[in-house]
């Protein structure tokens, strides 16, 4: 990567090379500007930083451990596999790292109402939890199909006091939930903050969500120094919108000795076209406020995606990933539904850790490459979330009734 020494994206226009930007209706421009100003003013502020650190430590339970998957490593008989345990966070995934930060931004802007989109429900739960903790009204937009796939999380959000709004337009999944959240935001922009859950959307969201999630990569640096006396050889993370990947990759972007690998949802296989892997098999376009790689047809219409995991079932990807793909700093691959399910069972049975189906895609790729590597080599997989929410879905896919 040519510019690795001065990697300093996004630029003032909110761009990562040619990607990113702010492609939204005029009504939202002032809200984005307000958010950007608030964030830029607060991010260096000691009091604000302390507030976030305290929440991350005592509400979320950070730092998350770096765990050696000993039996899985022995079974695969290759590189050593470590897991960054984001599944142990409060609410069960990395998503809460972002929501604890954004809810504080909302409070500083004087917003009383929080909205969010959710696919797998993890971001919805993480948003509902922080809204409850701060006593703010909370509405979560969720595709009807995802509500069905992720019913335990729907009930969790309701218990946390959020209203879950079923989205019936379009493909009834994550992208449509995001459209509907945008429509709500444009209508209630005065008193509402929209907590986008991924490194996607218009600037400054991709930056803010990346920065809040970077705590994962920052901790990993410290933990690897202490544990191995060096950085890992490879870091692997699943990529839907790409927030857990960006969070663990970002602090390592300038450390060229570390291979960074993002794993997209291969669905039934890239060659079938039924997948959710825009970086592996997409083209450049504009959706949800950003220029990025998308799954689209020749007329610029967004295609419906397919993945066993609701959280990766999205036709776009964060613009910084698009940049990192083209620059070559990060390598992007994919894992199929079948490979993900296989690794879901592997990790559950071998390590006693049930991963989210999203995370299982990253594990599937680790499983593929670990046996080919030397036992001195160290792989860290970002274990982005826990799999309890997926039990009913896995049972259904495998033809079982609970």
């Amino acid at each position: 990567m040519k510019d690795k020494e001065n990697y300093n994206f996004p630029d003032d226009a909110g761009r990562y090379g040619e990607f990113g930007g702010k492609y939204v209706s005029e009504t939202l421009m002032s809200a984005l500007e307000e958010l950007e100003n608030t964030y830029e003013n607060l991010k260096g502020n000691e009091e604000f930083k302390n507030e976030i650190t305290e929440d991350l430590n005592n509400f979320v339970g950070r730092p998350s451990p770096l765990y050696f998957a000993k039996r899985w490593t022995e079974k695969l008989a290759g590189a050593q596999i470590y897991l960054k345990r984001e599944d142990l966070n409060h609410t069960g995934a990395h998503k809460i790292n972002n929501t604890v930060g954004q809810v504080l931004l909302a409070k500083h802007m004087g917003k009383k109402r929080i909205i969010a989109e959710t696919g797998a429900g993890q971001h919805g739960v993480a948003t509902a939890a922080v809204a409850a903790r701060h006593g703010l009204e909370c509405i979560i937009f969720m595709g009807e199909e995802d509500i069905e796939r992720q019913s335990p999380n729907v009930y969790r959000m309701k218990l946390l006091g959020a209203e879950v709004y079923p989205v019936t337009s379009g493909t009834k999944t994550l992208k449509d939930a995001m459209n509907e959240a945008m429509r709500d935001w444009v209508t209630n922009v005065d008193d509402t903050h929209y907590i986008i859950g991924s490194v996607a959307g218009p600037h400054p969201y991709p930056k803010i969500v990346r920065d809040f999630n970077s705590v994962v990569g920052v901790e990993l640096k410290e933990q690897s120094r202490a544990l191995f006396g060096r950085f890992p050889d490879k870091i692997i993370a699943c990529v839907g919108g790409g927030s857990n990947a960006m969070g663990i990759f970002y602090p390592f972007l300038k450390d060229n000795s570390v291979d960074l690998i993002g794993v997209e949802a291969g669905g039934s296989g890239i060659e079938t076209g039924k997948h959710a892997a825009p970086l592996s098999d997409g083209s450049i376009g504009v959706l949800h406020g950003m220029k990025t790689y998308l799954m689209q047809d020749k007329s610029g219409q967004i295609l419906s995606t397919q993945s066993v995991s609701a959280g990766l079932d999205y036709p776009g990807v964060g613009p910084e990933h698009s940049y990192l793909k083209d620059s070559g700093r990060v390598e992007y691959n994919s894992a199929t539904d079948e490979e993900a399910l296989d690794s879901f069972h592997d990790l559950t049975k071998t390590e006693g850790i049930m991963p989210a189906l999203e995370t299982a895609h990253a594990l599937a790729y680790a499983k593929k490459i670990a046996p080919k590597l030397d036992e001195e080599e160290i792989i860290v997989v970002n274990l982005s979330g826990r799999g309890d929410k997926d039990m009913a879905n896995v049972a259904k896919v495998e033809g079982l009734t609970l």
Partner: protein, 276 residues
Amino acid sequence: MSIINSTFKNLQKNKSKALVTYTVAGDPDLESSEEIIEEIINSGADIIEIGVPFSDPMSEGPVIQLAHERSLKNKTSLPEILSLSKRLKKKFNNTPIVLMGYFNTFINSLNSADNFHDINDEICEELKNSGVDGLIIVDLPFEESEAIFKKLSEYQIDLIRLISPTTSELRINDIINNSSGFLYYVSLKGITGADISSCEELEKRVQSIKKITNIPIVVGFGIKDQQTAENMSNFSDGVVIGSAIVNMIEHIQTKKTENDFAKISKFVGEIKSSLQ
């Protein structure tokens, strides 16, 4: 002078205000949408906005979202819409045609190259040859499109910008400097087809913009009846009617009758008469 400019000049001379209509191409099907637009022009519409369907129309309310879905079910494409525009232009050569849609369909369905690039000469030529006089690209703020604005103006295609109740004074100046044809004032914070809450505040805003520019200002989003149209036209240069017409088209379905079109013509005629 562009056709859009001369249309506003003529209206001014006749002490009338512009009726701008919005319908989605390919709704309920391509042929019917063409007939509907012809009826609308014959009933007194001054400027025709043709909606280009998109799979993710983020700024639209439920009525227009469904129209986009119906149109996409018919696989309506931008090249087909350009042919439609060309045919309309032949019949009504003084009526301005404006395409309204989302950025992705403009950049991804007209480029012959596989790689993404912005609106270029090739696209501009195609638009011009199809009789397109202007573009409204909902998700393209001026920050992202200064070059596009310049390119389009080389071909005398107007880039019509939206101003909303949340637009700051500073931005209004920038928007004015990067727009042509007319300004589209979004009457409310929200999506198409919602309800307008305060007419007075709207009037104040439009009048303050009129003080700093000569570009005509039309008001849109949420205008559903004669009374509202008349009220809005008192302080602006025209109104946009979209959801109210699209709502009528929703009921046309496949077996259309003369009566369906007659209802739309009557409605358009009534609105136009309230703008005289």
